[in-house]
Symmetry: C2
């Protein structure tokens, strides 16, 4: 970097880091990882190296995601199902969305939502989801190689593995899991239709407001869960700090991810699945009907929710928690420090750098930073099938996040004690877990949340001419208004002479023998959905395994370097013994022995031997 | 072992191995693995260590498999579906199994087959299949630990990893895959009903004969494929012997396993699936109807096929290829050697031990032994859901196999050159691959080959009183004899007045609107089957991951040992330098330096240093 030259000319290390790393001017440069490690130690060095690799690798999926989105925009006009939804001529009368208060409505009134839905729910999304599984595998492999390289160049190869914790975790696991289940249950109850009238009239606004409220709840609960995780870990009485750290990470990851992802899981897989059908809705606690998604499907809601949580979390967390609060706290702290100094009654000595540094925020470890990023990784991979723009959002955030974190470490907090570690530890396992889980969630999102499978089934099995025309009619079932139970039919209706209304489900029509039971189409489409899940999951898993197998863990150049160093060590040992002996025989002739490799690249053991022998 | 005492008393190494290892008398003892490694080198040492661990770990599944089988035997009389099949009173007339020649038949005539089928197709099998996935994960983990231990105690920790081969393999992969596909196709064509009359009358005998024939084909083709694999690898021009070996292993494994497993896959997943229905059978090449399984389902056929191939392969391979052929060849070889000696025209010197040894069979590497065992591992794991006795068969075989291989290595072949290697190499990857794949095959066998899911669906969805009674009627569809196409109805029938016959499928009856199309039950059961696959696969994968995560790769005692040794090395280096210097100063006072650990347990590096410094 030529940085050592600057250091020699009297620029302080911290200032150099600030210049070369912790400001937005160098946003497009690689981070000076070696310098970071020198100043902050291996742990923080690894964090930023990881963040760098992650951000860099986010570029291809961001670009591809934008293309997928653009593909949606350009083909939306050719999309038959949304055209049919918007077609006023079809004049489809839909059943009311709530009891008594709601009226019949026309399908064409949700035209814009159907078009918006198509942007994220088209064939390209499926390919993108498969691409993302591969990408996750590639990312993990790439990081492994990078980590191996750093381990070597930072001379950590001889560091010992610590034993992995194992036993007590299952005791508290149940507690954590209990909290998560409670959270999902509360969410379902909380989101049950409390005010049908208001909701029916301003559905979209209410949904969005609900999502924003929910997002705030997520942010507040995150802090609460952090405290719970600490408390649970303290109960376990782990023996060492490392053990404490690992257990805490594991638990808080579980709680926080449940917190962040529960609403998404609810919308993707539960909302509207158990709502029943017109004339036989499912009621909970007597009065409350189970909530349903807006008519164009749950995918668009999942999409909104995901973008809200991602954007909101990032904006609020970055700006409020990481910028605003420290900014507010700093003057208070400075003032208090000044008061303390006065109260001490000592002579007024000039304030040194270490006095100033002491007024900074204390360093709280690198775990919260990892946690934030890992949860973002979850958003990017777990539900990418519903929202191809997620990688682009994440990329945007991370480019800022790196410099923000850097500035925080350099200027806002006290310089942390350097912690030595040989890799990113348990975080890698968590990343692997998320990547594997994401294959399953994406398979289910495509099958059950999007309408990809029903459309394909219609096209290849039920369509008369092999096109999509008629899909909308096919996907709606008939309901005879005579079958409304007492008091649930619309009390005052603008539409007159309605005998049949339609609802989105595959059930037998009222004139068949088994009226309102699931139709043959329902079961065959369900089978197709499940078959797609199996196909997708196994294809993605196979491809990921192939990637992991084809990319060697140790880069070829490093492998050769290691071999060479081993040989040099042996040669050195052979030659050196002679030299020691000759040196001992003629003690006056003191010669300086050069080690066989430069200090920076030297394997640990050579340095040791060199030091002891000379 | 006290073996070194024997060695000291003049017993030869080979004789000792023969006494302590290569005979059936010591069958119940652990193998003297250290001794084997000393005499034959690491490669063969690892093979027998692995075989020992595998055999030992086969004991629990063998016992459990026998229990599952016994459970089947004891509950077969309470099993409603097989009772109903055997019930003459129901008087169910089944449709003929072939065109024109076959007659209608009564369901009760396949009573015994239905009862036999239940032995392997009951609820316990599902649990056993899940257990086996866990077992496979546990086995791999256990072997990793054992390998790590051996690596340490055999002083292989400092051995270099070789780079994994990668590039050319995809060129030939297509060739290998092509052969496999061709094999499956040939199998389908070959097994199409060539002689319907004979087959209908003596169905069971013909099936069994067919399977035995098939098994012989498998055995012969195995040798052919071995040659193909060598040829393909030679085309690739690998650079080193190790590379050649690895590539060859990979290809021959693919070809040989395809060969061994193709008939099983055919029976489990293809046979009878595309046979059509009465009145609309699927014909290939104009005349040939697709083959169907016997009426109680394909599972019993899979079961017979598996047991035949396993038993046959083991008996024939062990006895013919490994015992008989060498036994026949030996006198021929001896005679030729004697002739050669005479022809040489040298003086008749007395025959030394090395002369005798030279007449033995040449050593052909350890790969064929591994291959045999890995394919057995495939039989044990891939289709265990259909045949819980497979582990017991494998155990029985292996107990003999160990001693047979041992005798072969000690007495039948020339002593092999010791090959140093640090683990079992690519075989471990192949084992992992098989274990992962087995989860999928077992899920599909339970769902699609056994009748577990349809029975459960009947019990919980269609049964009027929650019991299984009525299942047989429910699982059979109606066919009106008027719908037989010309010339396919039975030409001369013993049964008179048949208007309806039954066949095993879920299709709408002739009197419904959509006669003979798949019924609602078909689709819902298909959906349930697919859902079961997803559930089973993810459950088994999750449990396996949990096992792999909970069992640390390095045993705790070994980890502590390694730490201690590292410390000792450091201490030794510190102290030793002083000693070298003092020794150099007073050369007369020659002292013998003892290494800080006994030679056997010493890490590589310490020995090196010790040798060079003293």
């Amino acid at each position: 970097y030529g940085l050592y030259g600057l250091l020699a000319r009297g620029v302080t290390f911290a200032h150099l880091l600030y210049e070369e790393w912790a400001n937005y001017g160098v946003m497009c440069k690689y981070q000076p990882v070696d310098l970071i490690r020198k100043y902050f130690g291996e742990q923080i060095g690894f964090y930023f190296a990881w963040l760098g690799v992650y951000t860099q690798l986010l570029i291809p999926p961001s670009v591809l995601g934008i293309f997928v989105f653009l593909y949606g925009i350009f083909t939306v006009d050719d999309n038959v199902p949304s055209q049919e939804t918007c077609d006023n001529g079809l004049n489809i009368t839909m059943c009311p969305l709530c009891d008594a208060v709601c009226d019949y409505w026309h399908l064409s009134s949700v035209c814009s939502q159907a078009r918006a839905s198509y942007l994220f729910d088209n064939g390209a999304t499926v390919l993108f989801a498969i691409f993302m599984s591969l990408w996750a595998a590639l990312f993990l492999e790439h990081w492994k190689r990078r980590q191996m390289y750093l381990k070597h160049s930072w001379d950590l190869t001889s560091m010992e593995d610590e034993e992995v914790f194992m036993m007590c975790i299952f005791v508290t696991f149940s507690a954590v899991f209990g909290v998560a289940v409670y959270r999902i249950c509360m969410l379902s109850v909380w989101s049950m239709n409390p005010d049908p009238e208001a909701k029916a009239s301003v559905r979209m606004t209410v949904t969005t407001t609900g999502i924003i409220l929910n997002m705030l709840v997520v942010l507040v609960l995150e802090e609460v869960y952090g405290a719970i995780a600490v408390w649970l870990t303290e109960i376990e009485l782990p023996k060492t700090t490392e053990e404490f750290e690992e257990r805490l990470i594991f638990k808080s990851f579980f709680l926080k991810s449940m917190n962040a992802f529960a609403p998404l899981f609810y919308v993707a897989f539960f909302k509207g699945r158990f709502a029943g059908r017109p004339g036989d809705y499912v009621y909970i606690f007597g009065d409350y009907r189970m909530e349903e998604c807006a008519p164009p499907g749950c995918l668009i809601e999942l999409c909104i929710q995901l973008s809200m949580i991602m954007l909101g979390k990032q904006l609020i967390q970055n700006n409020v928690f990481e910028v605003l609060i420290p900014y507010v706290r700093r003057p208070i702290r400075n003032k208090r420090a000044a008061e303390d100094a006065e109260n001490d009654g000592e002579e007024q000595r000039p304030r040194q750098q270490f006095d100033k540094d002491f007024t900074l925020e204390p360093y709280e470890g690198v775990s919260p930073e990892y946690m934030e990023m890992i949860i973002q990784y979850g958003f990017v991979t777990l539900f990418v099938a519903s929202f191809p723009l997620a990688p682009a959002f994440a990329l945007l955030n991370n480019v800022i996040e790196i410099r923000l974190d850097a500035a925080k470490f350099v200027t806002e907090v006290r310089r942390p004690d350097a912690v030595r570690c040989k890799d990113i530890g348990i975080w890698f396992n968590i990343l692997c877990g998320i990547s594997k889980f994401s294959v399953i969630t994406n398979a289910f999102v495509i099958s059950f949340t999007s309408e990809f499978v029903p459309r394909m089934m219609f096209k290849f099995m039920y369509s008369v001419n092999g096109t999509m025309s008629g899909y909308t009619q096919h996907s709606l079932s008939y309901f005879s208004v005579n079958n409304f139970p007492n008091g649930t039919a619309p009390s005052s209706s603008l539409s007159t002479g309605v005998t049949m209304c339609r609802y989105k489900d595959y059930r037998d029509p009222p004139w068949e023998k088994d009226a309102y039971t699931f139709s043959k189409e329902y079961w065959s489409i369900l089978a197709a959905k499940l078959a797609f899940v199996i196909f997708f999951q196994n294809l993605a898993m196979f491809l990921s395994m192939l990637v992991a197998w084809m990319v060697p863990d140790v880069p070829r150049s490093l492998r050769e370097q290691l071999k060479k160093e081993n040989m040099m060590l042996m040669e050195f040992l052979v030659n050196h013994d002679e030299e020691v002996l000759s040196k001992a025989r003629s003690p006056k002739q003191s010669m300086i022995l050069c080690p066989p490799c430069t200090l920076k690249k030297c394997p640990h053991i050579v340095v040791y031997i060199w030091v002891f022998l000379t």
